[in-house]
Symmetry: C2
Subunit: 550 residues, 2 copies
């Protein structure tokens, strides 16, 4: 858990993760996609870092010196690579811009505070210096959450929390632990696992995302149906704001007024910097069992998921692909996938041809997993499900963090791949699914780039579920941003018009700000803005995100 | 569910509930208490309503006329009985004052709006008229939450929500329902039960408390370990504020910024009036099984509760009395109680003499209850528990809403009985128990009125539990308020000094306001006050509660 210098180098500045770990799309998958959506006629690699367009830093020498005095010389970085690496998150637009060499939204410097006190000191300095502050955890935002916008300030810094990377306390009796905000998912897990514990929080960004980022964006992970969303895990937190500290001691429950922690969970760096979080943890599971099931249709599968969830018999991981996603994933999968495991012929014989694949996972002691799995399986069978063995589950588990790497490959081939997600009441899941998928198809067909549009349910609640859409289309070369904008706008309008939330776990950032009024109403925004101005009166905190200007 | 005129008449103005339903303390219980804490030498009945000291209404004729124009003549009431009935909640101090004929905190009028639109209209009028508004649901607050304080206003009205008493919508697929804020617990249950559903929310105040009150005070019920606290049941809400509406559509989960609903849950009428809540509901249980268990000590029992809760095997109702509470309840109980069922001799033979009684309850289908009960029972036995049959559980269930009636009887005999509650992490439960019980004992011994101090755990969370204290002492005639104040202050100081929350489910009101800074910090208060001022700029909403003046 020792920290050895400013990090970020491991993450590619133009794409996801460590390029050396990238696994190219298999040739048959390339063929399928070329056939279904088309591809660029030649590869489109990112520009060289030397060719990236980066404006000169506007941080004054005095301001820089003041920051150096606060955190130390080696913790204020304004070299080209560091600024470019902190220019953007990992959304589709971010990558399109970075690959094309556009780093106009780069910060003027990157500052690495080493403690809560240093964070507070930097914020106070930045108020005086009129410098905007963009809190930066893993940098994995897909909604523009870490773009270095300066708002009305003279300059902007990225405040990289990588040095706040300790697991400072474990309360084994209460099953809680206190984490530094900059601790990355795998490091947090390693430290917990060594104590027989797990956080159980595995978003697709897990390999790079940070604890503070989870909390600041109201994250949900792939096993959150079982382990709970991050907001269900937060029992206390510490936050530095421009006017002082928020320090909420761990508490299992309280009736002492509005739940203040819920204001900071999902605050996306606009109120202050979450520096520490006390989270509920779980005993490390002895076994993890993942397996595949088939349903005759998305509707049948969704009813089955609702039934197990409302019976209190839900698996820890529960994902149901719609017909399109099932078909494409079976076509793309190699021998380890659902296709290899079960085969079209078998499904056809059993009446599940053209149906939907679900992945279920149970984690815990061997006895618990066996007991819980039996109960769920009985209900799933009753609801029309067909168990197709462990192979599809294990295939999913193996590739669960690989999606963002594939996106880089597709971008190189001139293919847009993007995801968006929502949630709604069970009674509205099917209608919302149809409305959003339809909106995406129409928008992209209208631009002459017909899309593959797929969806899965991946988070179950007693009253509803999430819907996660993936769409793939040939890029409009030269109009990539307009193309994306058209699809995104149409889909988001369809989401709010059809009773969905604008985001289930990606957060607001810049991309969803436009729909915040439909989400919380004008009076709700008024209340949130008033609170923002109380904590950040000069509006230095992550300007241009979450809330329109206060 | 028809509403037939302004209600409130059924609730005694000087005590709890319907006096005709009161069951006097059995003679042997009177003897025990006389022996243990002492009693007044003669009965102390409440004064006659004619003798209650009530100041003249300060509502101007113009203001009254404007309110009549907004809600209709028969829905603005300022007769003596109605004002006195809305003067206070049902806390110890409230009853001491009301019984003594002190209704100085009565509102100038009671207004009964018939719709959300009328609530909004009344608020806008009250802004113009400089009239304070105290939202009034069941009037069961035990922390001063409905005292008709006027703050800086010219007059004060109680806004009784009794007419907003409909169950407007049931979504049987999503298991949610939309309730008017004024709907009382039993009426909500009756309407749900007719549809095969239940809210599963049963605070001790259930027979009078309202849905809006549950939400506004962040309530927890006796079965909340199983069914969830009210904040876990809220999926959407509607609130009228002096500057306009908050209207949050039902949503299972979202990452769209801070969770706005969490600002209104627990807002205690200081931000606006919750007029409607969309809540998660449950299938009506086929069976309810309640039973008694014994542990050799409070510590052993607490460890057992922690273990079952952290194993995901908790009952829906889980209560563990400490040694003092067990001893007194066995002494007071008639033949149906734990004493009758099991007897000291049996416990002594098994080594549980002087131990602690727990009540566990499981609700659901017959098969589920049987399955879940077996699993919990196996764990409880492992942890040292001794099952003592259903009788103690059924005895508890029968008397679960009777506590407030007994208080009236004790007050008549010159005996103070008061409760307070907190919650903390599991690792701190035993220390907090000792600290708070000790503080109460010292404070009351120091005043020459040694107390019985008892406690139980009644709400389990994976990371901690609640502690609910009851203390009984002879009243200091003529200094009842000072006596209470001394005990309350000492106990609350002990709670916050020892890592507890100032309230687990009674809320803040006036009584706990002093400890809000320790709960949320000065910067947290600043944020909450800023939001309050944005929604209620002229501070008409429930002045003097929850937040110190903004």
């Amino acid at each position: 858990m020792d920290w050895s210098g400013p990090v970020g180098a491991e993450m590619s500045w133009w794409g996801w993760g460590d390029p050396s770990r990238r696994q190219p799309l298999p040739e048959h998958a390339v063929e399928i996609l070329r056939d279904r959506v088309g591809m660029a006629t030649q590869l489109r690699p990112p520009v060289a870092i030397e060719d990236v367009d980066l404006r000169p830093s506007t941080l004054s020498p005095d301001a820089r010196a003041a920051l150096v005095a606060a955190v130390g010389d080696c913790n204020v970085c304004d070299d080209r690579r560091m600024r470019i690496q902190h220019a953007a998150g990992k959304g589709y637009l971010d990558l399109v811009r970075q690959r094309a060499g556009d780093a106009h939204q780069a910060p003027d410097a990157v500052v690495f505070p080493g403690s809560h006190a240093e964070v507070l000191a930097v914020l106070k300095l930045c108020v005086d210096l009129r410098v905007a502050v963009v809190p930066f955890g893993g940098g994995t935002s897909v909604v523009g959450g870490v773009s270095a916008l300066r708002g009305g300030c003279l300059a902007v810094i990225a405040l990289d929390l990588a040095r706040l990377n300790s697991l400072t306390e474990i309360d084994d009796e209460s099953l809680t632990a206190v984490f530094g905000a900059g601790l990355r998912g795998p490091d947090a897990e390693a430290a917990l696992n060594a104590n027989g514990l797990t956080l159980g929080h595995f978003p697709q960004s897990y390999e790079y995302a940070s604890i503070g980022g989870y909390v600041a964006t109201r994250s949900a992970g792939q096993a959150s149906t079982g382990y709970g969303r991050i907001d269900e895990l937060v029992v206390g937190l510490k936050c530095a704001t421009p006017v002082g500290d928020i320090d909420l001691a761990p508490m299992p429950a309280s009736a002492a007024g509005p739940k203040l922690a819920e204001l900071f969970i999902g605050s996306e760096g606009t109120l202050g910097v979450i520096t520490q979080a006390a989270l509920r943890v779980h005993r490390l599971p002895e076994v993890k069992r993942y397996e595949g099931w088939f349903f005759r249709s998305f509707a049948e599968g969704a009813q089955a998921l609702r039934m197990v969830e409302q019976s209190g018999a839900s698996p820890d991981v529960a994902r149901l692909s719609d017909e399109e996603e099932t078909q494409l994933s079976m076509a793309l999968a190699g021998a380890g996938g659902a296709k290899g495991a079960v085969g079209r012929r078998y499904l056809g014989l059993r009446g599940y041809s053209g149906g939907c694949l679900a992945i279920f996972g149970w984690e815990g002691t061997r006895a618990e997993v066996s007991r819980r799995r039996s109960r769920t399986a009985a209900l799933l069978s009753q609801a029309g499900g067909l168990a197709v063995g462990r192979s599809p589950g294990e295939h999913w588990a193996k590739g669960r963090f690989a999606g963002p790497y594939l996106r880089d490959d597709l971008l190189e081939r001139g293919v847009m791949v993007e995801t968006l997600e929502t949630a709604t009441q069970w009674s509205n899941v099917m209608d919302l699914h149809v409305a959003v998928a339809g909106a995406l198809r129409s928008a992209l067909t209208a631009r002459g780039t017909p899309a593959l549009v797929m969806c899965h349910i991946s988070h179950l609640y007693p009253t509803g579920a999430s819907l996660y859409f993936t769409f793939i289309a040939r890029q409009e070369i030269g109009s990539e941003q307009e193309q994306w904008q058209a699809a995104k706008m149409t889909a988001c309008d369809a989401i709010v018009a059809n009773g969905g939330t604008i985001t289930h776990h990606h957060a607001i950032g810049t991309d969803h700000m436009r729909w915040m009024p439909s989400e919380v109403g004008e009076i709700g925004l008024l209340a949130l803005r008033a609170m923002k101005l109380a904590l950040d009166p000069t509006e230095i905190m992550n300007p241009g995100k979450l809330l329109k200007d206060a």
